[in-house]
Symmetry: C2
């Protein structure tokens, strides 16, 4: 069977998302989507000794919760696709090591949730797994420790900086079932437009989202109005504006039905998060906690979710490198 | 179509490896497999300013070379699966950013080469790509900088320590073609037996290789003699001995036809590499540079390649954590 519809886009024949769960931190629990999430942590630690252990626990509990909701256990899952922002993806490895599920580690920076769903859907649709999970997480404190400064330092943030979401999301995919069908996937190419400012991730990632969206519309020969809602992962205010403008120059107007998860999860002004939210857990928790449930209720019937990732590291920044970025897209429809 | 043969093992119907290439460093060019590799670097830098940039260049050139050999260009490749040991997998992201190939980033530590072939084979077999590439790399100097001490420090190495291979491998997969067929894949589970010594990766990873091999033999109902050769990625002398012993306790004897790539690439004693070689580039370069060409010449007809990875990070070690590990297996046969 040939499922290729274009260079980047494939069709998925019959795979659905049968469950999802999201766990977020305190700050996310004070934002406009607070009521969407399954668990809001009481503090940054959640009874763990280090923030990294907390992040791992969030991944593990998100997986378990997404399974419990539909009466399944980890034994029912054939493959798990997971990754996160931490060096060597330890959020995933340590979080999921006790689950006894065959594991494929992935790294797509903040595009990881959508990369995971993309690969899980292809593996399930191809008959290589009956049930697969896609999981990711981020934690404000682990990300600051690793990418920026010790929290105790209390450094000032630039206006273009984004706030890393403390959150984890888990989605369970199965062949032939689920109220929400995965219909198409568009794989992203690495895009690097020469942005060197590691504090302007939205600006750096917008061209990757533009590239993937353009390929998606062209290869499927559809317009943005095909969707009730198009979301990007974590472009924030600055990146989202750039994306809309870039597409407009090509005569593609997404503005009537476009939102960025990085602008949805916080009250940007009141919560003082500058350009918005970022992190694997941003689209991870918004998709798994807010958007997929809305689709199950048929309040959204056609959704295009675009995960956006900045593939830099502190080492590459120190070496004067620019920021390579990527965006992966999954097209979701409620089952008729 | 259902391709599941067991919890961890699937069959691949008709995908072959149509080309491969390997690039290695100076030290690997002085080892017993020197003549196998396509390019041996003249020094650690290869005209780049930093070792990280060198590692990226190795990945990029390995991909190009594996394509040039069969008259293809990057335009012919639908998907590329790649990752490496560096924080945020910058070897892959920066190495492959100019290739314009839809990219899925993966992280399996030193199991990355086999994880990449596993996912590429499933995506191609499922009809989601015509041609896919699996790529990885490691570099002694980037790994030391990141995981251990500055090279200038000249630290002593423990007897159980392994030497990170400077090397990159690229394999090109296509449906219905290629002298070497991918016949089965066994996905690994994360295994953590409580080893805390970050200088004994072989010892930590052996139980993961044991777990995956046991599942592979059981789910396919075959014995080790099914293969002309079984190789593991980088268990080194210590890990390889433990693996043989663990399987023997279950009545499975791999010793007649088993080798570890970490014991093959160097003259262990003369080259002073203590317990052997390690790194994504170990099985990456040995498989793509040495073993796949031997299969094309039909000197090996049935090969089981088991990539082994230690999913720790310096942060997890500092936090007193143990070492979670994983092993992925691909079964390869020459086309009749």
């Amino acid at each position: 069977m040939n499922n290729k519809l274009g260079k980047q886009t494939v069709k998925i024949n019959d795979v659905g998302i049968i469950s999802s769960a999201a766990i977020v931190g305190e700050k996310e629990g004070e934002g406009p989507l607070a009521d969407s999430f399954d668990i809001v942590l009481p503090d940054n630690e959640w009874n763990e000794k280090t923030w990294e252990k907390t992040e791992s626990k969030m991944q593990r509990e998100a997986v378990k919760l997404s399974l419990t909701k539909i009466g399944l256990t980890t034994e029912n899952v054939d493959r798990i696709f997971s990754g996160d922002l931490l060096n060597q993806c330890i959020g995933a490895a340590f979080g999921l090591r006790d689950l006894d599920i065959p594991y494929y580690g992935i790294y797509g920076a903040c595009s990881t949730m959508v990369e995971g769903i993309s690969l899980a859907a292809q593996v399930v649709d191809g008959g290589f797994a009956d049930i697969a999970a896609a999981v990711t997480s981020s934690h404000f404190c682990t990300a600051e420790r690793q990418y920026r400064n010790p929290l105790e330092y209390g450094g000032q943030r630039t206006p273009s900086a984004q706030w890393t979401v403390t959150g984890a999301g888990s989605a369970i995919l199965k062949k032939g079932e689920g109220d929400v069908k995965v219909t198409h996937i568009t794989a992203g190419k690495i895009v690097d437009m020469g942005v060197k400012d590691a504090n302007n991730m939205g600006g750096a990632m917008a061209p990757a989202a533009y590239s993937t969206l353009k390929a998606h519309f062209k290869e499927l020969n559809i317009s943005p109005s095909e969707y009730d809602l198009i979301v990007t992962g974590d472009l924030g205010k600055i990146g989202a504006e750039i994306l809309v403008e870039l597409l407009q120059k090509d005569g593609i107007d997404i503005s009537p039905n476009y939102k960025d998860c990085g602008c949805m999860i916080y009250n940007i002004e009141e919560q003082d998060v500058h350009a918005g939210a970022s992190g694997c857990g941003c689209i991870g928790s918004v998709l798994c906690g807010h958007l997929l449930p809305l689709m199950r209720k048929k309040e959204i019937k056609r959704l295009l979710a675009v995960g956006t990732g900045a593939l830099l590291s502190p080492t590459s920044t120190l070496q004067g490198e620019t920021v390579p970025t990527i965006a992966h897209a999954v097209s979701l429809k409620t089952r008729e």
